[in-house]
Symmetry: D3
Subunit: 242 residues, 6 copies
């Protein structure tokens, strides 16, 4: 089974870290292919960049010319998943949904700890649209930008743990979701420090994508995610023009 | 005052019809500029096309090199408005929100009559995100594709009136919103046939944009729609690369 | 175009201030007529007074013997708007709804800062009934009674700014609505001090009422706001007896 | 114990029927006093009439010069209960809330069958405000006006039973609430014909009011229903002027 | 009229206290019978114990061999009420629902003060399922275990009053519900110290059960609470085997 | 890895069918152990039976004396999962949640097709409590009792397909969940006849349980599902007595 995991930003080192994290839980026989968009922002922290990433991710996946069995969109709270679901016949898993979905099996309420405060409303909105918000205790910002996670790992860890503890104590979260693809790999340490289960969206998404493939399930084409109707598309990116 | 009204598809005749409709209600002294995206689909009827339109609309507005006072995004239930709100310092009005917002002053519940069934969930989701769904009685599809509205105006009228009547009788709608930029101009006739107020998003958006400008109000930059952070963006469209 | 703006209390100086505020944004050609109820409380801060105001406003409007094109009910969170909508064929705009409706175009969430704590639940309930509560971050009380706003303008300003800042920081409001007709005129100063858009319901309502008139839209008579059925009404106020 | 039960319309025969119905379940030692407002409409079927009734009910109760232990507002879905709660120190029970509240002990979902379609949104809104709407399967109109219930009792019975059956079969109601004070006394017959419990708001309210009095409980004065602040009230009804 | 009031734990002294509290408000002619389950935990503070109590309560009621008119389940936030409703033809009142239902007649919002933090989510969930959560301001834990209420009555009183005051000041509760059968009898003292109405579920339930019986109302057998279908049941407890 | 899959009824043939269905998707190296409760009803179709099953499932799992890595509760819409989560340190997956959770990755809305109408409210309530109801289009009953599924497989298939088609056409479901453990194995055929993805809770639960184990995640012990406090439990089943 081959699973494409697509970064939403254009920073290769993050793609690499995400793919490696994915491989750490992939079943024997699952090949993880990390993809970086051909265009877009070095990190995604807001609506404009997220919309650009939406198209960049679709573009990158459509440019991939080998067979694959599932796609993971590895951005937290980003736009675009529904577009991929229209374009593809294989299952699509967004790490935002994957983490929340798994967290709901582990506790009565979960919180997300993410990067900057400005991304909080995007994450809340995406969870609402996915129907996974009801048991969300809070979405909290660590104040660390995406690229700072790599640059200042110790500071990032402290900031995330601090918000996780507040989520547990004040918001009554029983599970923490790591709200950024770039946080991949921090879960075990945060679990030890907070004492609650910590869900990393990337690894959760890998097992969910594998599960869907094993179960022979893929996106319904009955209505919302039916294939786009044939029509004239002009301009950019070339891959979408017909 | 100059208001840009941006079509979400690349069909020039629709841009022209929308702009004309906008001008029909614009105040003396308001200049309406219709813009067509440089890329994208000839009509937008689904998530993939809508995401592409989101970027195409932002791209088109950023390419406009004259001063302007407000922007109207003239697609019903489309993605992208939040991106424009980040990029601009002038008010942004989406016709989906404009129609719903106006309808709520006119009756206890409103329904939207749109084009194809596949677009219904998008409209519902956008209304939910905008916080305007609570008094939405239903979103109904006429079964007419966007481009068919121009080709078969009589059939379109019948199909829209039929769904509007069902919305009034079965869903208890008291106001009808026309759920497609391409329906601009049909409102008066449908009002006469159904006996309830009919809100066209384009004209509603013009008066709302004018109102915001007159009141000196524009998008809050406090959190969700703060300007994008300075960062490296690669690839095309060139306008976004930095 | 003539727009009636009706105060909900019997204090003439507030009617005058409201009308003046309304005129400051009215379009050329719009005549603003300020009306004071013939009976009721000097200020409205609770349900009993608000119900009395509901009837007093209807009574005052029915007593007005000149033609008019729209009515604005200038009380924040008060009862009665639905009654006016039944009695009239012209659009009715409540300043509570007007402010919230406009605020939702400007940010992801808005807060209302009002007068006394006891009025907070009334405002919340009216926003819920109007379907405009979903994006309301909070309703906060400044602790200043309606009549104190005029008597102690400096103290009022400080108290309102303080609550607005809390709304922004703690409740994540991105826009502030002024929750009292008597706060008309404070918006610009509060905007400067808080850095976020501040919506005054009176001026918002004027532009919305003008918009509805220009669009040829008025209250739906299909169901909830159909004209009252002919029936015997006895007693008070005389204008309603038949 | 003396309980005032106040009709919302000015038709004495309805007051009498309501009081009689109330007496049929009152405990030994409970005196039921039926009151008819001094002004208002002969029947209440819409917002204007309901707002007028709100004040008329408060006026009537304030004019009552004997001691009493509780007040029942005997209109279904009407405005005004919150005003009474401010003015009085004894418990206030609205028959809309009483019926819904009792129904929720009897089944998983309840429906209301009321008079005219135009009153349905008022009832829905009042139930929402009271926090009793979550388990409401539907509010259905029999199409019979309030005064027709007395004039055409057989036709009324058939129309109510028909809607009750639809509520059970289509909306999955397990309990029926009679949605009009004027339906008092029909419960047993409708129960026999539909096979489900039928709650009459008047009798439910009597037992609830008695219960609150026996438990020594009355309206909280902590916030929303605190006594009105002392202030100048002008005009008529004289009882409110100070 | 005979009302069974069933404790959810196996501590006889609590059964006795509950029955005594029930008798303090029962009408003349109402016989209160306190029942203790034959099996289960000495106190119920969590899901496992609550599920066990659910069956133990049904078992105890089915073992009661005299006629009775209503059953009260005297555990706060516990499972099981729906099972009793299926098995019986008389009304079933849970004290959780009874307290909330009564509280909603007394104020705009209520809070529950309960025992341990771990039981808070159970109470919230039960109120949600009962459709009585909308006006719940908060559920707060005093930190006192069920059995500590008897052992340390002074400390318990202080802890409960402290949380009640926080509920009033921070959560805007206007009424307090005592969230444990073991708190029966504390209501008057807490009311005096907090100044708001305090509802004890046990006494509320008694008057509600009496009311339902007097009104001739019992559980709907139309759908959710229809009698169990005849089928083979093996094993434990013997009373259920057929 | 060893996963216990516990039937909720006492019919061994259903346990066997469920276990076989589970094995059909289990990964190499996963051992599936099917367990039948020692007591309870031959099929579970209502609250009383479901509450009994809740305890019977806990009892059966606690009686299992070998190590295991996860537990699946194989009843649709049944009580009890939270109790297991308290008692165990390994992950617990309910097939109701598993199916809904998987379905949400496959379409914008899902419907459940279950057995008898009387079980519909239980399923709706369990999905609400699990926070997975937002995207549920409907829960529909086939009218076939649990044991009839085995006896009349052809009739059952027709009835399920009929309701699935109604769910797709009228309720706008894009995915169907099979709402009964006894429907295991019907998914492929129903998918072929309806054209939409069909999720069987048993197989979904197996892959989810495996995923949680592989990710090293288990139930949070922070609050709701903390281990029961040590206390005296009397009576039977002996396994719970301490």
């Amino acid at each position: 089974m081959r699973i494409l995991i697509v970064n939403v930003n254009t920073t290769e080192s993050i793609t690499e870290a995400i793919a490696q994290q994915a491989r750490s839980v992939a079943a024997a026989g699952t090949e993880i292919v990390g993809l970086t968009p051909f265009f877009g922002a070095e990190s995604v922290e807001g609506n404009f960049e997220s919309y650009l990433a939406a198209i960049a991710v679709m573009d990158r996946v459509m440019a991939y010319d080998q067979p694959f069995d599932a796609v993971i969109q590895a951005g937290y709270g980003e736009h675009g998943r529904e577009g991929l679901q229209e374009l593809l016949n294989v299952p699509v898993v967004d790490i935002t949904d994957a983490a929340a979905s798994m967290a709901m099996f582990l506790g009565h309420a979960y919180s997300v700890v993410t990067t900057l405060d400005r991304t909080v409303p995007l994450i809340e909105d995406r969870l609402k649209l996915s129907g996974l918000y009801e048991r969300c205790a809070s979405v909290r910002a660590s104040g660390m930008a995406v690229l700072e996670l790599e640059e200042h790992p110790l500071r990032a860890m402290e900031a995330i743990v601090h918000q996780a503890e507040l989520a547990i104590r004040e918001d009554k979260a029983e599970v923490i979701c790591l709200g950024c693809g770039g946080m991949a790999g921090l879960d075990e340490q945060i679990r030890q420090r907070t004492g609650v289960p910590v869900v990393d969206g990337v690894t959760a998404a890998v097992t969910l994508a594998e599960s869907l493939v094993r179960l022979g399930l893929s996106t319904s084409k009955a209505r919302t995610y039916a294939a786009p109707r044939p029509k004239t598309i002009i301009g950019w990116p070339g891959r979408f023009a017909r």
